[in-house]
Point group: C2
DNA sequence: TCGTTTCCTGACCGTATGGTCAGAGACAAG
DNA sequence: CTTGTCTCTGACCATACGGTCAGGAAACGA
């Protein structure tokens, strides 16, 4: 790499900034629109309006609607994978699962749109991220299931099927994002308060940890 | 109602049969297509092809795509309300919640498409069934929460927030329908067997019932 | 300043979609 | 057979959509 290339690629470069900033704005708008309307219901025009850019400009950064969608889905997937680290550092179920629930509940709270896009994608048969399910997610799941199994073997929790436990963790935490509208309606039309979010986390942790005989 | 009208409206009448049968076929096809593609991605042509009818015929029975969609959503909602009866006849959490989980898991297994359509609808802000959420579902939820509270007061289970418990029941059971594709992928690409479904039900019941101190 | 690359966008295009409609066909009642 | 009602459908229409493109504007390096 020569000096010229190094300079033109430096992260603070104006060119780079423009591209990065616009991609960020577009991805953010796209996440929202895909979450609200689904892939089929979303339109490039709607995303463009929400991003404050002409539609043709979107196609300059993302060749097709599907490319844009793919990026949105991968983004949320990576956020979730990060939350997995909660699991690793732990020495037992109370610590590990507790931290994992906290992390995933926080994601449901902070990134409800991304969660909905992911849910939608999987519900429709995962047309664009099937390979991720079969590789990354499969490996991740096998790894955590093994960890849970060792906890069981060590007598740190009751013998439960690790996979069904994982499904329950995913379902319960993501429910607060995917079905947030329903929860809000049942909460007299008001979003959960800080206090209520804490109660939700505590309830989930309490029931599950006690349910697996770890608390 | 005079004799003529009575005859022409009798349930076995040929005219009535044609209408009912065609509506049934259309609704069945629509449920599948809406589940697979979402409201925006579904097309009347696709539904027509799946139902084996010309597109114009669909518009004879259902004026608009939205009318058809509305009917599909209400159908699954009523199926779920029926499952609620499991709750009522019970005298305690083990019996009541156990039966409710069984009923909802069975629905996830038998009507995964309906479940997906419902999930999609709620995720997108419940544009067509918001009134149902605010009336029927709100009442139902309040009623069951009260039942759970009495069980707590009677010492039949630990003090947990009834609402978060209900959310967990909904989330966990519906997960097996809505994320069925993901579960199948993690099950080496094979659908859950009869045995595995039983294991799933048992795991869910075991963790939750124990988690609320009822088992 | 000049040349080059990147960025931007109004106007445009082919296609697919939801929906309409006139009229044909099926059936029952008198 | 006649009349009236319900069922059916090919052909059609206006619109909206994803995507393209030519060419202008802006940002650089030299």
């Amino acid at each position: 790499m020569d000096a010229t290339a190094r300079i033109s690629r430096r992260s603070g470069g104006k060119r780079t900034d423009i591209r990065r900033e616009n991609e960020r704005v577009i991805l953010q708008a796209a996440e929202k629109v895909f979450a609200e309307a689904g892939f089929g219901g979303a339109t490039m025009q709607l995303i463009a309006d929400m991003a404050g850019l002409p539609k043709a400009n979107l196609h300059y950064y993302f060749a097709t609607k599907e490319d844009l969608y793919r990026r949105v889905v991968r983004n949320i997937f990576e956020i979730w994978l990060d939350a997995a680290s909660s699991f690793d550092a732990a020495t037992g179920p109370v610590e590990g699962i507790g931290a994992y629930v906290d992390a995933k509940m926080e994601i449901s709270r902070r990134h409800p749109d991304g969660s909905k896009v992911w849910a939608s994608e999987v519900m429709h048969g995962a047309p664009v991220i099937q390979d991720y399910l079969e590789t990354t997610l499969r490996d991740w799941t096998a790894g955590r299931a093994a960890v849970i199994q060792t906890w069981i073997d060590q007598g740190k929790m009751a013998p439960v099927d690790p996979r069904h436990l994982l499904y329950m963790l995913w379902a319960t935490t993501q429910h607060y994002a995917d079905f947030g509208h329903q929860i809000e309606t049942l909460n007299d039309g008001r979003p959960l308060t800080e206090r209520q979010w804490r109660a939700a986390k505590d309830s989930v942790k309490q029931i599950i940890l006690r349910g697996i005989g770890a608390a």
